[in-house]
């Protein structure tokens, strides 16, 4: 039996090693490019940088038109995460604890917004936010991203909340807790990991989205992803800087993953396992 388990272990390790290699190779290539000069990128083909240089990163971190892109992205992503979680918490509680008129239809209707192609919404969003004077602000992008993040947050939180026995609510009410006090003092700590996972997902989908954030911004709230596309076309393909900018967009994601690594698996199942 042990021998069988061991042989399976070795085969699995090989499969995983190959898969992780496949995942990491393109990222590695971006990393090496970000450490090369343009002459080296275009001139010699080498698997690793011959003369590693940090010039590309220096260009980005000293030029406000570059690094403000990161700041803008982070501002609207954090705003979106806070808004999404705040409104999703009570709604998820309602869905997980009560039946009410039209609850099932409402729940599916919310999910349909997650299914809406951003391409469909790009133009109407542009007109809507322009007409109310929010064009090119962080809050506009944050609100636009609520379109797909709020339904997702409700969905995930509802899954986690359904795992908490209802007796806890009832005991708290018997003990004289009011609803807001019970919710904040007792219930939220119980589903802390669920809130973390939902926040992770909101962060993730808001961070990676480009179509809407690019449509809704021009200068003041321009996300880093959009800065990349424009600078590339204008300055005649500065590959090194492009690669460095790409590497820097990976870092926030990597940090967030590290913090939630123990909840990732459960979170990806939307709390439903």
């Amino acid at each position: 039996m042990a021998a069988v388990a061991e042989s399976k272990g070795r085969g699995s390790a090989l499969v995983m090693a190959l898969y992780l290699l496949f995942l990491m190779l393109p990222i590695y290539w971006l990393l090496t490019m970000s450490l090369k000069t343009n002459q080296e990128i275009l001139g010699v083909f080498s698997l690793w940088p011959q003369n590693p240089t940090l010039d590309n990163y220096r260009t980005i971190l000293t030029d406000p038109s570059w690094y403000m892109g990161y700041v803008n992205s982070l501002i609207y992503v954090v705003m979106n995460t806070v808004i999404s979680i705040t409104v999703a918490l009570p709604a998820a509680y309602a869905f997980s604890r009560y039946r009410f008129m039209g609850d099932k239809h409402l729940f599916f209707w919310l999910l349909t917004n997650r299914m809406a192609p951003p391409a469909v919404f790009a133009l109407p969003f542009f007109q809507l936010y322009s007409s109310i004077g929010l064009f090119d602000t962080h809050i506009a992008v944050a609100l636009a991203h609520c379109l797909f993040n709020v339904p997702l947050a409700v969905w995930i939180l509802e899954g986690f909340m359904s795992g908490v026995p209802r007796e806890i609510d009832e005991t708290a009410y018997v003990d004289g807790y009011s609803f807001p006090r019970f919710f904040i003092r007792i219930f939220m700590p119980l589903i802390a990991s669920g809130i973390g996972v939902a926040a992770f997902f909101c962060f993730m989908f808001s961070w990676v989205e480009l179509l809407l954030s690019r449509t809704l911004t021009s200068v003041n709230a321009k996300p880093i992803a959009a800065t990349m596309t424009r600078t590339v076309s204008a300055s005649g393909l500065d590959w090194g800087v492009l690669a460095a900018a790409g590497m820097l967009t990976i870092i926030p994601g990597a940090l967030v993953i590290w913090f939630v690594r123990n909840y990732i698996a459960k979170g990806f199942a939307l709390g439903r396992v």
Partner: protein, 288 residues
């Protein structure tokens, strides 16, 4: 699970309702409005009825894009779902290596989509990309800029690279929930590896697999940024999927009427398929 009926729960849902009404219903109404009107410029609109819908439905260009889109989603699901299950089965169950794999696998999911496009655009280039250069050195004629088949392969491989981890992580979560006792029982019965998979692991993964299929279908059907960055919809129209076509029409040519009609049809198709998945999913949840 019998939940108490309480219509005051609506109050708790109200904030979400207002927010989503603002960010979804309002814009959608604009789209509906455009889809039934025509304009000669300025702000002069007049009623066009269902003209745009008829035009969209009979347009060869849209039909071709829809065909490509369906083919793309089908290929993506056919590759990513089995591969994701396979990877999940091979992941370490616990300990340092499990965390290690989780973190590395989740990494592609958190890269902004146009950076994913950029990574593969560079990676596949014949002159400076590792993949393109290696293939060329091996004597394979590969060029995603000019060759439609190569462009397709590049985009499919890119999507597999980008999203297979999501399927794998979902299945992994499903597998984690299987108690050891099930495996012990199977061992006592001397069940084969295949039987363990077929009668223990697969049924337990059913729920998460449906989520995986649903998410992958929706997202692959709306794919825009990645192929746009890599190929720009080319060569020719070979990789022009629905979203790319739509954005070209709405923002590029500013054909609001046809674009709006197109949007609504597009949305309805996704909605319909997702509804089928969702119904299957909740049905399955009730029988458990």
């Amino acid at each position: 699970m019998d939940k108490p009926v309480n219509n005051r729960a609506w109050l708790l849902v109200l904030p979400v309702l207002i927010l989503v009404a603002f960010s979804a219903v309002l814009p959608l109404m604009t789209v509906v409005n455009y889809s039934v009107q025509d304009t000669f410029g300025g702000n002069q609109f007049f009623w066009a009825g269902l003209e745009w819908f008829e035009e969209t439905l009979s347009s060869d260009r849209v039909r071709a894009a829809l065909g490509r889109q369906i083919m793309f989603s089908a290929i993506i699901l056919a590759i990513e779902i089995p591969l994701g299950i396979f990877i999940a089965l091979n992941m370490p169950k616990r300990g340092f290596w499990a965390s290690f794999c989780l973190v590395l696998m989740a990494l592609p999911l958190l890269i902004p989509w146009n950076v994913v496009g950029t990574i593969w655009q560079v990676f596949g280039r014949v002159d400076i990309g590792l993949l393109g250069h290696t293939l060329k050195a091996m004597g394979i004629d590969y060029n995603y800029v000019n060759d439609a088949v190569d462009a397709w392969i590049t985009i499919v491989v890119m999507d597999v690279w980008h999203w297979t981890s999501l399927v794998a992580l979902l299945c992994y979560a499903g597998l984690q929930s299987i108690p050891d006792a099930y495996y012990q029982a199977a061992r006592i019965d001397q069940a084969s590896r295949w039987k363990v998979f077929r009668y223990i692991e697969l049924p337990k993964m059913q729920g998460v697999l449906l989520i995986a299929v649903l998410l992958r279908f929706m997202d692959s059907f709306m794919i825009y940024t990645e192929p746009f960055v890599v190929t720009g919809g080319g060569p020719g129209n070979a990789t022009t999927f629905l979203s790319i076509d739509l954005v070209k029409m709405a923002v590029g040519q500013f054909d609001l009427g046809p674009a709006a009609a197109f949007s609504l049809i597009y949305f309805l198709v996704i909605l319909l398929v997702s509804f089928v998945f969702y119904t299957a999913m909740t049905k399955e949840g009730e029988t458990l």
